[in-house]
């Protein structure tokens, strides 16, 4: 643990900054991209993700059905290929499963990405401010984070969703506001090590201070770790939205998310397994994709473990 922390303090120097080592051809991002391309699991994960995103964006536009169109003649249909058919079958109300799964992907990805953005923004600002200002402010801010760590957030989110309506926007904000603690800690640690570096001192000497220093000089140097972390936060958020959906507190019908489709499917899995299997496959694919991509990014952007 201590070892890792110590090497974390020195690692940025060896990778990005040193002008001698980065002789022309390979910048930090070029290097990272090369390493990422060599990582087959990460590339596979990324491709699956890209495929899901493109499909989720395009397929609903091509399909003759909407996510809310009812087809009373084809209830609980099993998947069947052919023109004019429901390719992945239909659900209890005869709604086309393909279109619904694609809408589910859209919503789940949207929830995941937006909530992670909220998380990252709060966490990075909090962490850099605490780390950069230091002293008593730092102590106070991090003590606050420690206290929040002991707050059972899930009950609070449940209460929030129950009492203040089940709005999509609220889901984003609630999840984002809950999960910024980890990243604030990580970012603070990184900031502490960046703070003593020459470029920060140079900037300070030339009169940069306060918020500009944080936004212009510290945050850009944290992008690597932030990208890694957000890639790994998105799947957690998607699963959390699924959890809320299971309790009936997530996205509301007729709109849907992968999580709520899986939750619906579970209740009918004995009679109509396709209603569970198909959305579960997409959910798993997206979460697999983000996890492997995130691991790959960590290896690529943060090569000290090799």
């Amino acid at each position: 643990m201590t070892q890792a922390a110590a090497s974390a303090a020195t690692s940025p120097t060896s990778a990005p900054g040193t002008p001698g080592a980065a002789a022309g051809s390979s910048s930090l991002w070029g290097d990272a991209w090369r390493r990422l391309k060599a990582n087959r699991a990460a590339m596979a994960g990324g491709s699956v993700l890209l495929l899901c995103i493109v499909a989720a964006l395009v397929l609903p536009l091509l399909s003759p059905y909407d996510y809310y169109t009812l087809d009373w003649n084809h209830l609980y249909q099993t998947p069947a290929l052919g023109a004019g058919w429901h390719w992945l079958g239909t659900d209890a109300l005869g709604r086309d499963l393909l279109v619904r799964v694609m809408w589910g992907c859209r919503i789940s990805l949207l929830v995941g990405i937006v909530a992670s953005l909220v998380t990252v923004i709060i966490g990075v600002l909090w962490g850099t401010t605490a780390g950069y200002v230091g002293g008593r402010t730092d102590g106070l801010m991090m003590r606050f984070v420690d206290v929040l760590y002991s707050v059972p957030f899930i009950p609070f989110v449940i209460v929030l969703m129950v009492l203040f309506g089940r709005e999509l926007l609220l889901i984003f904000v609630a999840i984002g506001a809950v999960s910024w603690l980890d990243i604030a800690r990580i970012v603070r640690g990184q900031t502490l090590s960046l703070k003593s570096r020459e470029f920060v001192e140079a900037a300070r000497v030339s009169g940069v201070g306060g918020f500009t220093m944080i936004l212009r000089h510290l945050v850009p140097n944290l992008i690597g770790i932030v990208i890694i972390y957000s890639t790994l936060t998105i799947p957690t958020v998607i699963l959390f939205e699924a959890f809320l959906s299971f309790l009936g507190l997530g996205v509301q019908s007729p709109m849907t998310s992968l999580g709520s489709m899986v939750a619906d499917g579970t209740s009918q899995m004995q009679s109509y397994p396709h209603l569970l299997i198909i959305p579960a496959l997409f959910l798993a694919a997206i979460i697999y994709g983000f996890n492997y991509l995130g691991d790959g990014l960590r290896d690529a952007l943060d090569p000290r473990d090799r």
């Binding site: 009492l163 309790l247 899986v262 979460i287």
Partner: protein, 306 residues
């Protein structure tokens, strides 16, 4: 040591106060009250009910009363289950949660740690990839899918275990396993990473050079330091198990407190929701303390009282 414990426990008081205050504020800020029914009630009756539960008093007075009772360990009467106090509800349900959650954590650490160790020892072999693939699968399938699936296979098809309800040991197995799945997977990933790091460190090389056998090296030298990340993961894992138990109790129909929570929130059972939230806070605080103590025991470099 004793001083450290006392200081930590004293530090928990403001945290608990914050949790109680947040819960109180959120519930009372929400539109609607616990006794607003759809049927029109005679105003006198409504008033007398509200007077009985002190809901007619000004908010600051209610808050003071609530905190005073809380300090004496009295969580108040439940609004929804008339004539039962929240303390009684918790006393009935909580042992179930402890049994299920505790066994789930035990499974996660033992099985997950074991899998991670095997994967680390056979690094980059086929079994390593297979085990880690399964681990990501375990992380990416929501508990509310694993639970019903396990029940379908082991209770309904094979008749090996009871499908739900609460009784002896056999009733504990399925819920605990289902709840443990994601944490087992995560522990396996953590253990693999830390074991690889430890096995590459100089003191293991020294042990090898001394000619110690593989089991001795692993169990006497490598295990303790490799467990560190696992132990620090236990803090968040406990919070997660609490969340998961809400779902598991719904799926298997267990008489724990998790399922009271959602219905309590839906029915505006203020005292019940606040009581359970505070209880969760206490659990998380105590477990975090326990984790820190374990940490100091595993890693002598950590000094508790700084």
């Amino acid at each position: 040591m004793l001083r450290y414990l006392l200081r930590r426990l004293a530090g928990a008081v403001p945290t608990l106060l914050l949790i109680a205050t947040l819960a109180f504020a959120m519930l009372h800020a929400a539109p609607g009250g616990p006794f607003d029914t759809e049927k029109r009630m005679l105003p006198e009756i409504q008033r007398s009910i509200e007077a009985r539960y002190h809901l007619d008093e000004p908010l600051w007075k209610q808050y003071g009363r609530y905190l005073g009772n809380l300090a004496r360990g009295d969580l108040g009467p439940s609004y929804q289950y008339r004539s039962t106090s929240v303390n009684e509800l918790i006393a009935q349900g909580f042992p179930v949660d402890v049994a299920v959650g505790g066994s789930a954590l035990l499974i996660a650490v033992l099985v997950g740690g074991g899998i991670g160790m095997i994967a680390a020892l056979r690094r980059n072999s086929l079994s390593d990839y297979a085990l880690m693939g399964i681990a990501v699968l375990g992380i990416s399938i929501p508990t509310f899918v694993i639970g019903p699936l396990l029940r379908l296979v082991f209770a309904i098809w094979l008749h090996w275990l009871p499908p739900g309800d609460w009784g002896g040991f056999s009733h504990l197995v399925l819920p605990a396993v289902a709840l443990a799945c994601p944490y087992t997977a995560y522990c396996a990933r953590l253990m693999r990473g830390s074991m690889l790091e430890v096995l590459g460190s100089p003191f293991i090389r020294t042990a090898r050079a001394k000619g110690l056998s593989q089991p001795v090296i692993l169990l006497r030298h490598a295990l303790k330091p490799a467990l560190l990340p696992l132990v620090s993961y236990l803090g968040p894992a406990i919070a997660g198990v609490i969340t998961g138990s809400i779902i598991i109790e719904t799926v298997f129909g267990l008489p724990g407190i998790g399922r009271y929570f959602t219905t309590g929130a839906l029915n505006r059972d203020y005292t019940l929701v606040m009581g359970i939230t505070v209880l969760y806070g206490v659990i998380i605080i105590l477990c975090n303390l326990l984790v820190d103590l374990c940490y100091a025991w595993l890693d002598p470099r950590v000094r508790l009282a700084r």
